[in-house]
Symmetry: C2
Subunit: 135 residues, 2 copies
Amino acid sequence: MKIGELASATATNVETVRYYEKIGLLPAPARTNGNYRSYGVAHLQRLSFIRRARDLGFSLDAVRDLLALTDDREKPCQAVDEIASRHLSEVERKISDLAAMRDELRVVIGNCRHGTVGDCKIIETLGPRVRPDPK
Amino acid sequence: MKIGELASATATNVETVRYYEKIGLLPAPARTNGNYRSYGVAHLQRLSFIRRARDLGFSLDAVRDLLALTDDREKPCQAVDEIASRHLSEVERKISDLAAMRDELRVVIGNCRHGTVGDCKIIETLGPRVRPDPK
DNA sequence: CTTGAGTCTGTAGTGGCTACAGACGGTACA
DNA sequence: TGTACCGTCTGTAGCCACTACAGACTCAAG
């Protein structure tokens, strides 16, 4: 399988595949006579795993850890659970941060009376919350 | 006001203040005899605005646009409203992306039977969804 | 035999900072 | 007066996870 086929089979950019190889996430495949990368099923499986984990928001470091764990089938699953759970809390934290942003943005936008910038409530709300001379 | 005071008054890193100056977001201030940056109230206000907008998730480019708008008080507020509204939809999109991730992560983690990696449902769920030989 | 698509390596850019290194300024205390 | 120490200065490099080239090649179709 050539890199373009692998890439399209996994909905990945060709450049990204090469990047994963460079950072050691995907093993370097054999080469054809013309020096083209030649991938097998194992590569396809591994890249699919990586993509799916990335889609779920795992960092490349986390993916690396997960991949390392899959190599030893005897290890307890706990380490995997831990990585996933840590990531879940991270995602939940991001959601609540964004939800707070969203609520505040709605208030800000809701105040807009569509006049001029001079009496724009959005600008005003964004504007300086200056503490009176902390010095 | 020295850079450290400005920074702590706005909960910003000193490096970030200098970075904002470098990219033209914050005007270069006067210097003292010893070549220290010397800020006035206008800088404090501008940086407060920037920080608040950043806290609400606006990109530096959006902040730049907002700042440009605040300079002409006669302009209609519509442009401001547009930037903010566009940003709000962006935030809402991110929230729903993350919520989808969260839901899927919960399913994945919920499947964990705490055995060994060999029969780990997390790894399995993450694992290759290989379409049978697309060639 | 040419054309065009795919692939190769290597480097640089993105956003928004953050982290140094190495030199200089300013102040508090001995 | 020395000295210790903090803050500040400039400039450069690093972070994440790619993405976008440039310039050279391989290969299959017409």
